[in-house]
Symmetry: C2
Subunit: 464 residues, 2 copies
């Protein structure tokens, strides 16, 4: 708890975060129906929980929430979340929260004994790297620091943001309506007790916003600007900003260069939308992995029946499973639930799902052309082993060479997303087995490519 | 070359090895037919080449060979080897080599300008760690050091070995016929110019062995003993010792816990004997890899024919290929040719060889029981993918957890050596497909075991 920590060590890293959660959030929740703002869910997690999780990632260990508006509900929500996440949380009530967020921040003074601490807003979404950088910034006595973003183009809702002017790496002035300004205030501070002095001085002059208090220190050159331009952040204080946060979270789910072509242009656009909904349900990522596996097995069973209607149904189910297969990781990332065991289960089940589809398509084709069944089965066998071998060769390559096989169009062509899509499309056209063979041949070509690359880059010895 | 190096730096690591190769070796080569002793081949490499390769592994960069008996032949052999291996070699002739190995060592004085250097015998086989330890031992001015082995039980040919008595970590006395002794002289020295003074003093008294010269220094406490008890070494100066060296090299080829049951008790005992012969031929390890692969493909083709005689022949060929598959690595290790690309090629071709055998056995069985062919093909498919999946899951496990799947009887049961042996034995009994199915089931059980272990040891997150 805050009260047990050692006093005055402004140059160490801060381990306590003071989080302002006392305000009403009237622009975001105009009629105060539903939960108070800190408990407002955003893709499955409340704003308070998201703030805490990002802080934990950045190395913060203890939290002091300043509460005010709908205090009891906010305390209950945060206490439940803290117990569930296993983190250390304390509360302080800001009786004058309605005066402004400076009055809320000043309430923390009674409970903070750390030499320095972070100050965050419960409704700001920021990248963990911003918190990390701020908490490691060295402060002199009487100084505070503040993360700023110099890229005006990227700032969401320019009208509403707090701007700053800079002078020699320090903040000269803050304000929402500065005429000339250099950067935006990202809402992430590292403070010493100096902050409270600034807030008291401003309050004495009848000004109760955090900006007013910080301006007191800025006038004396006591506010260091930490330039975090390029890092993501968003002040979620309007419904437009809330929608933007949803959009950004969804966009962050694609894996970029790791994703194959079908993933990028078909599966992700669907799966991320699905995940945004799944994140609001109690379904866990591992449950999604199992559901996707079961759907692919059911799809394979339909494919094995061999008649056209069953093939179409099977193909659609297998492609659906391929899409849902992206959701487990997406939901895990959205809800900060990503786990090594989840990824491990997913990887092994994907291989079995591929086997089931290959077996089903081959069996259906062999049943239809009894005279060629030996050749068809042999072809299916070669294709199926090709799929496994590309995965195997990729892993073996990484283990032997210490880095993954370089991104190459062959590697994208052998990826699971494209393979299943081509087989499913083939099934819809009545040519599932031909599609299977084509993807099998491609896979073996890819294994050969990986083999050749490994051969080229391996050391050779004197006699060879 | 030795003459270009900087003088006097006795406390650095030595980078020059003086190798005594002037003697006749009359007990090993009694009638002087064939090559001179330094050029005597031992499993494909001459004694001189083995000594140089071990030194290179231990960080030695330059070599000075002292030659005498059959000087021209020895020089020619070593010069050819040095050119082929790309290492820096110089020669000095010991005109009085017949007086004793001390006289040979003294001849090096004219060419050695290094502050310190290693002194080795061309006919001693030692572990690189011994050379490494000796070359890093710090010497004071006037000191030399010597590797010793305190384990009398493990010394080969006790009668012939040079013994030492120790006092406070120093050698007090050396000799072949000491009554009481503490350790054996391993024949690996690090010397300063003090050695030559000792040799000259001994020579002045009419004593010309290396032991005599070292005893001069030992009397003054100038010979440090480097205890290398437990490290392998052997003085190859009799035909018994030569046979022991062959035996030890062959035994060193097994991979211990990495080898499966059939490897340990059937394949290695045969393959190491075969490798001992292959090492004396110009066949390279990669050629052996390809030969083993081709033999397994031919074996698979016979298995696919399905009649009993062809099945027996196929089974024998596949088992032969499995045995020969060990030889590539063994010959590579015997001839210091081990290469990353060789291991990589072997790994991928093994998977294709497994596929060919699975396909052949399944095809043969499906051809014999046409009514069940669909089920048989499906069974073969599941078995074949099981084989690949165990390899895949093992690699994926290692990548995700940073260490290999622990040694477990299931892991040994799914290894390739046992799998091929069981299938081949099944083929000899007329039940190849049943054996294939059994090994496939075992493989899938092993995948499940690896999946469960990975699940258990992976971190879980709060919600799961």
């Amino acid at each position: 708890m805050p009260s047990t920590s050692s006093p005055e060590r402004p140059s160490d890293e801060a381990t306590l975060a003071v989080i302002l959660a006392a305000g009403e959030g009237s622009r975001l929740i105009p009629h105060q129906a539903g939960p108070p703002k800190p408990a407002l869910p955003l893709l499955g997690l409340s704003l308070a929980e998201r703030t805490v999780l990002v802080c934990l990632k950045a190395g913060i260990q203890r939290f002091l929430f300043v509460v005010g508006h709908r205090e009891e509900e906010v305390r209950a929500h945060i206490a439940e979340m803290a117990a569930r996440r296993g983190c250390v949380v304390d509360f302080v009530t800001a009786p004058d929260w309605q005066l402004g967020n400076g009055a809320s921040a000043l309430a923390a003074a009674a409970k903070v004994t750390d030499g320095s601490f972070l100050l965050l807003m419960v409704d700001h979404m920021v990248d963990p790297s911003v918190i990390q950088a701020v908490r490691q910034t060295r402060l002199g006595p009487g100084e505070i620091c503040l993360a700023v973003d110099r890229d005006k183009e990227q700032v969401f809702d320019l009208d509403d943001v707090t701007k700053v002017t800079l002078r020699n790496g320090r903040v000269a002035q803050l304000g929402k309506s500065l005429e000339r300004w250099d950067a935006a205030d990202m809402g992430v501070f590292r403070c010493t007790a100096a902050l409270f002095e600034g807030l008291r001085a401003a309050a004495a002059a009848g000004r109760h916003s955090l900006t007013d208090g910080v301006n007191q220190l800025a006038a004396g050159g006591g506010v260091i600007a930490v330039d975090m331009t390029g890092q993501a952040w968003l002040d979620i204080d309007t419904s437009q900003a809330y929608r933007e946060a949803t959009r950004r979270l969804r966009y962050s789910l694609a894996k970029g260069r790791e994703d194959g072509y079908i993933s990028t242009y078909l599966n992700r656009p669907i799966s991320t939308r699905l995940s945004v909904w799944l994140a609001t349900t109690p379904i866990t990522p591992n449950q999604i992995t199992l559901i996707s596996f079961l759907v692919s097995l059911i799809g394979a069973a339909f494919l094995a029946l061999g008649n056209f209607v069953a093939m179409v149904l099977g193909a659609l189910l297998v492609q659906l499973a391929s899409i849902v297969d992206g959701c487990d990781g997406e939901v895990a990332r959205l809800k900060h639930l990503a786990s090594a065991r989840g990824a491990w289960l997913d990887t092994i089940l994907d291989r079995y799902s591929d086997m089931a589809v290959t077996l089903a398509v081959t069996s259906a084709c062999a049943g239809q052309q009894a005279g060629l069944s030996g050749w068809i089965w042999a072809g299916g066998f070669v294709a199926g082993t090709g799929f496994l071998l590309t995965s195997y060769a990729t892993k073996e390559f990484t283990l032997r060479h210490g880095h993954p096989y370089p991104d190459h169009f062959l590697v994208r062509l052998k990826k699971r997303d494209l393979r299943l899509f081509v087989i499913c499309t083939g099934a819809l056209c009545g040519h599932a087995f031909a599609a299977l063979l084509a993807m099998g041949a491609l896979s073996h070509a890819c294994v050969f490519g990986i083999l050749a690359m490994g051969w080229r880059i391996s050391g050779k010895s004197a006699y060879e």
